[in-house]
């Protein structure tokens, strides 16, 4: 940078020293927080209807939201460098917990997912949704970019170990999400598109193997009913058919808030968690969907901008992979509820009822805010 003019130089010096605003000082990115607030507002509206108008549920959701915001801001206080260094320890701790789940975990709905620590119950697989992009970005950003073949292979191993542990719980949905979040990080780091193509082919070849040896019967059933839900209208296809009916019958403007017959009359499965989108689409219609997309789009756009503005490769990769993982969550949830993806049990980010996923997302957004607010505006290099 050529700084010929003394005055400009002085101005820039001023700028560099000046803390931008109170929010910057507290490491809060106001546009992002506003976007998240909007989703939470929408969430409360839909949740009130989906819960059968139970105010207690709203109160609990508000409390969880508050906790999530607190976590997010707390996370944002620490600089990204810290997370880069902590990544490997978090990764190892997560692995230990996954193994412990396998040994002493609680069983719920046919899968071992919960680990009881005495004072709280945690889902270690959930931790990896945050840790995976972190550890991959930290690992790949250590070397030069784009990463070399050997680094990519190592990164994939890093991904596959926890993924495998989650798969044997068995929790196909979370394993998939962990894989996707890690993969996005590798992709953004610059993995060769040729390798990607080769890997895609290998994955295609692996499908029959997965089908025969890895997938549980109920998971196979989910995939089969996805292809033709009407084939088993009272069994496995029931949920997806009812969900599609709810969405389809919403039309352009919806049936009106609290007026959705599918959601109010108990036809929808889990209307306040995984299938909350069906409630939104039924009661608020295509317009409601578009509003939701605009809010999500705004959040993603803000995160993309932050990613571009990030200074180090680690920060760039990390914030970008959180951003696109978030986009993938949305796509997977809405896709599954509207019948184009298998039912894998992924909540709709920031909208679904439930604390775990919200905390996970809050940590992710907290790190993004940390990346944005811990930048040095100027570095002097003559």
């Amino acid at each position: 940078m050529l700084l010929t003019d003394e005055k400009t130089r002085q101005d820039l010096n001023e700028l560099g020293r000046q803390p931008a605003s109170i929010f910057m000082r507290w490491h809060i990115d106001l546009p992002l927080v506003l976007g998240l607030m909007m989703t939470l507002f929408l969430s409360l509206i839909v949740l009130y209807s989906a819960s059968g108008q139970h105010p207690e549920m709203l109160v609990r959701q508000i409390m969880r939201t508050g906790a999530a915001f607190f976590v997010m801001i707390a996370v944002a206080q620490l600089p990204p460098r810290f997370y880069g260094k902590a990544a490997v320890y978090l990764y190892i701790a997560g692995l230990v917990m996954l193994v412990m789940v396998e040994l002493f975990g609680d069983i719920s709905k046919g899968a071992q997912r919960w680990l009881d620590l005495g004072f709280m119950r945690i889902q270690p697989s959930e931790i990896f949704k945050v840790v995976m992009p972190l550890v991959i970005s930290a690992f790949l950003a250590r070397g030069s970019l784009p990463p070399r073949f050997i680094s990519v292979v190592a990164a994939f191993i890093i991904i596959l170990v926890p993924m495998g542990l989650v798969l044997i719980q068995p929790d196909l949905g979370t394993a998939g999400l962990i894989g996707i979040s890690g993969f996005i990080a590798i992709f953004i780091a610059g993995m060769s598109l040729w390798w990607l193509a080769a890997g895609g082919l290998a994955a295609a070849a692996a499908i029959p193997v997965m089908w025969n040896y890895v997938l549980h019967d109920y998971q196979k059933q989910r995939v089969l009913t996805l292809i033709d839900p009407e084939s088993d209208p009272l069994g496995a296809g029931y949920h997806i058919i009812q969900s599609k009916i709810a969405i389809g019958s919403g039309g352009l403007f919806g049936k009106g808030w609290l007026q959705g017959s599918q959601s109010q009359l108990d036809f929808l499965p889990e209307p306040h968690t995984d299938f909350i989108f069906a409630v939104l689409a039924e009661e608020l219609g295509l317009i409601g969907f578009i509003i939701l997309m605009v809010i999500y789009g705004y959040i993603i756009l803000r995160c993309v901008i932050i990613s571009f503005q990030a200074h180090t490769p680690f920060e760039k990769i990390l914030s970008a992979s959180y951003t696109f993982t978030f986009a993938c969550y949305i796509f997977i949830n809405i896709g599954m509820v509207s019948g184009i993806l298998p039912v894998v049990g992924v909540p709709l980010p920031m909208i679904s009822y439930g604390g775990t996923s919200m905390i996970t997302l809050a940590v992710g957004f907290g790190i993004i805010m940390s990346i944005h607010t811990h930048k040095r505006t100027l570095t002097f290099r003559q």
Binding site: S144, L145, I188, Y238, G248, G251, F289, A320, F331
Partner: protein, 674 residues
């Protein structure tokens, strides 16, 4: 402070650089500096790809949502409503059946069922098994299996009945435990109840569960929609004959249900139209009395008002309890009814085919007079037997020494068989067949129940068809005394005698008096329409009827009449005719001895009587199976029935002419009749 920090920072930078340099050195042989430009370029490309992918995903979601919510909106909207809205049939209340004095003969009573609505979250089999234990339903393995099958195959929102007709105790037990069974409900419905049990079974019939056969028939007749939700249908008697009147029109209720099938609220209600209430011509007291009179005897009593054809009593003994069939008869109960020696399932009024015996003599008299074969003044010598010319077969008279000189009046009074052998012989089978047909034998009486046999009105054709044999002269002779191939039902006999009592006016015996729409109780009800109204029996001279009636008068009142003992001291003037029907033929030269014959081979006793004589108010027909002589066994019952009706039940009615009426009798004599 500031300086220090900067220094540390520089040191760190340096450290990083040093490290990088080392690694780069090892890997790329001399390339020391991290290529920030290139890294940024790669990052930008990848970000671009990811953004495009994100936009693509959003587009896919939008396209799918657009397809679901805009393109397929109609379809899904319909399906959503189908989910939500059920149209439930509302079964109309079946018409109540009354007797002629408005005594309830068939009523509807509420009963409670246990209905299960299959739901994904609850195991149907487990629920049924638990309930069976809780309420002591005694369901067998097969019952449960069947219910589970029904639950699986039936429409999601139609319940499966686990138990019907719950007791009060079962209802309260379930009510206490109902929170364990969220998908089981108690449903109430109305069930038919016959308070008089077996008193009027053969007339009223019963309703029972709609079976496959009924469904097929209803479908064929296009009435199946009206039976949506109905559980029972008339199977017999009045209940079957007037099914369309009694059933009413099914209404509907549009309701909103949740996914468990629970009704949330009613959106629309179209009330059903209840069935018509039927008032019958029966008098339950007379019906009761008939049962009392018959006691253990097998037989039937029909009492009718001859001027209108209204059946006052219609009783067949032994009878049975129709309520068993409403509840759903168990096979053990049913086989008991089937194997009962008295064969209670047979309606002896309309289905029992009997030889009418001497009761038909007044009818054949009409034939003889109308065809000019006899006149009121012609005489015949009644010997001990009648023989066809050129034959030695003796057609014996009931009195082994004969009756001497007879005119038609005395022939009826004494029931002289030879007189009527001769009459039948001279008339020939073709003419007899023709007249019997006019009297309604071998045809339906038109009574308003379906269980009716037609009897046999014998003819040359009939014998050819039936036995592939020619008609012999010898077959004609016993027809003259109502024996031989001739069989008739009690109701046919009663109907024919009504013509005599009415002097030729025909009537259709019937059970329905009128049908009333319960919604409009003030409007005049629709009365029974007799198709035979104003139809007269074709005779050349109306006075022929007086001859037959006079003969029947003498049977009861004459000095030698066969029924005189039974009607001795009656406070009204009656007329009647006895009949004793042989079941097995007695060999030539042998005597009838009841004690030597098996019970089922003993004679049937018949009696037909009407009173008061001039304008009869009641005509009673009685058949007693294997009980012996008609005048000895059946006539006293007829007397009692008429006494009961005229003197006890309706004592204020017409009892006969106050002034004596002149009547012709015997060989031209006249008598004043009170």
């Amino acid at each position: 402070m500031l300086f220090k920090r900067r220094k540390r920072h520089e040191r760190e930078l340096f450290k990083v650089r040093k490290k990088r340099r080392r690694r780069s050195h090892q890997s790329r042989g001399g390339l020391m500096v991290r290529n920030t430009e290139q890294e940024n370029g790669v990052f930008k490309t990848r970000m671009f790809i990811c953004i495009v992918m994100t936009v693509l995903m959003a587009a896919v979601l939008f396209a799918n949502l657009y397809y679901l919510q805009i393109v397929s909106y109609e379809d899904y909207s319909t399906r959503s409503n189908e989910n939500r809205i059920r149209v439930l049939p509302v079964v109309p209340q079946r018409g109540i059946i009354y007797d002629r004095n408005h005594v309830v003969l068939a009523d509807n009573r509420p009963v409670y069922h246990l209905v299960l609505f299959p739901h994904k979250d609850y195991s149907t089999q487990e629920t049924i098994e638990k309930l069976s234990e809780l309420l002591d339903l005694r369901l067998s393995e097969r019952d449960i299996k069947n219910m589970v099958y029904l639950a699986r195959t039936r429409n999601r929102f139609n319940g499966v009945e686990i138990a019907e007709a719950l007791s009060d105790q079962q209802i309260s037990t379930f009510a206490v435990n109902r929170h364990h069974y969220p998908n089981v409900q108690i449903a109430a419905s109305l069930k038919r109840f016959y308070p008089f049990a077996n008193i009027a079974t053969h007339a009223i019939g019963y309703v029972s569960r709609i079976n496959q056969q009924d469904v097929e028939q209803l479908t064929e007749e296009g009435k199946i929609d009206n039976y949506e939700g109905s559980l029972a249908i008339g199977k017999l008697g009045i209940e079957k004959y007037y099914e369309d009147l009694l059933h009413g029109t099914t209404g509907s209720r549009e309701v909103e249900v949740d996914s468990h099938g629970r009704v949330i609220r009613t959106l629309n209600y179209h009330p059903p139209k209840p069935g018509r209430d039927l008032t019958l011509t029966l008098d339950i007291r007379l019906q009761y009395y008939a049962q009392e009179l018959l006691g253990n005897m097998r037989g039937a009593i029909a009492a009718i008002e001859p001027s209108t054809g209204e059946l006052l009593a219609f009783y067949s003994n032994p009878s049975y309890d129709p309520n068993l069939f409403v509840r759903g008869i168990r096979s053990s109960e049913y086989s008991k009814l089937l194997n009962h020696p008295g064969r209670p399932l047979i309606n002896r009024v309309t289905q029992g085919g009997y030889a009418p015996a001497s009761t038909v003599k007044p009818l054949l008299t009409i034939m003889g007079l109308n065809e000019g074969l006899i006149t009121t003044t012609s005489t015949y010598f009644g010997g001990p037997a009648f023989m066809l010319p050129g034959s030695t077969h003796r057609f014996r008279d009931w009195r082994s020494w004969g009756h001497g000189w007879l005119d038609i009046y005395r022939a009826i009074e004494l029931s002289a068989d030879t007189y009527f052998y001769d009459l039948a012989y001279r008339a020939g089978i073709d003419r007899i067949h023709e007249y019997l047909d006019l009297f309604g034998f071998g045809r339906s009486t038109g009574v308003d129940i379906h269980e009716e046999s037609l009897g046999v009105n014998p003819s040359r054709d009939w014998k050819m068809r039936r036995f592939n044999e020619r008609w012999h002269l010898g077959d004609t002779v016993p027809i003259g005394i109502g024996q031989g191939y001739w069989t008739t039902t009690l109701l046919q006999l009663v109907k024919a005698h009504c013509m005599v009592a009415n002097k030729g006016q025909e009537v259709t015996p019937h059970l329905l008096k009128f049908a009333q729409d319960p919604l409009t109780p003030d409007e005049p009800p629709a009365p029974y329409e007799d198709k035979l109204k104003d139809t007269l029996f074709p005779v050349k001279d109306q006075s022929y009827w007086d001859v037959s009636r006079a003969g029947m008068y003498l049977v009861v009142n004459g000095p030698e009449g066969t029924g005189r003992r039974a009607f001795y001291g009656a406070k009204y003037k009656a007329a009647g005719k006895s009949g004793t029907a042989q079941i097995v033929s007695i060999k030539q030269g042998q005597k009838y001895d009841a004690s030597k014959l098996k019970v089922e081979h003993r004679d049937n006793a018949l009696f037909v009587a009407f009173a008061p004589f001039v304008h009869p108010r009641i005509l009673v027909g009685i058949i007693l199976e294997n009980e012996g002589g008609g005048s000895a066994k059946a006539a006293p019952l007829a007397r009692k029935m008429i006494d009961k009706y005229l003197l006890d039940l309706y004592p204020d009615g017409y009892m006969g002419e106050k002034e004596p009426v002149q009547m012709k009798f015997g060989l031209g004599g006249t008598v004043m009749v009170q």
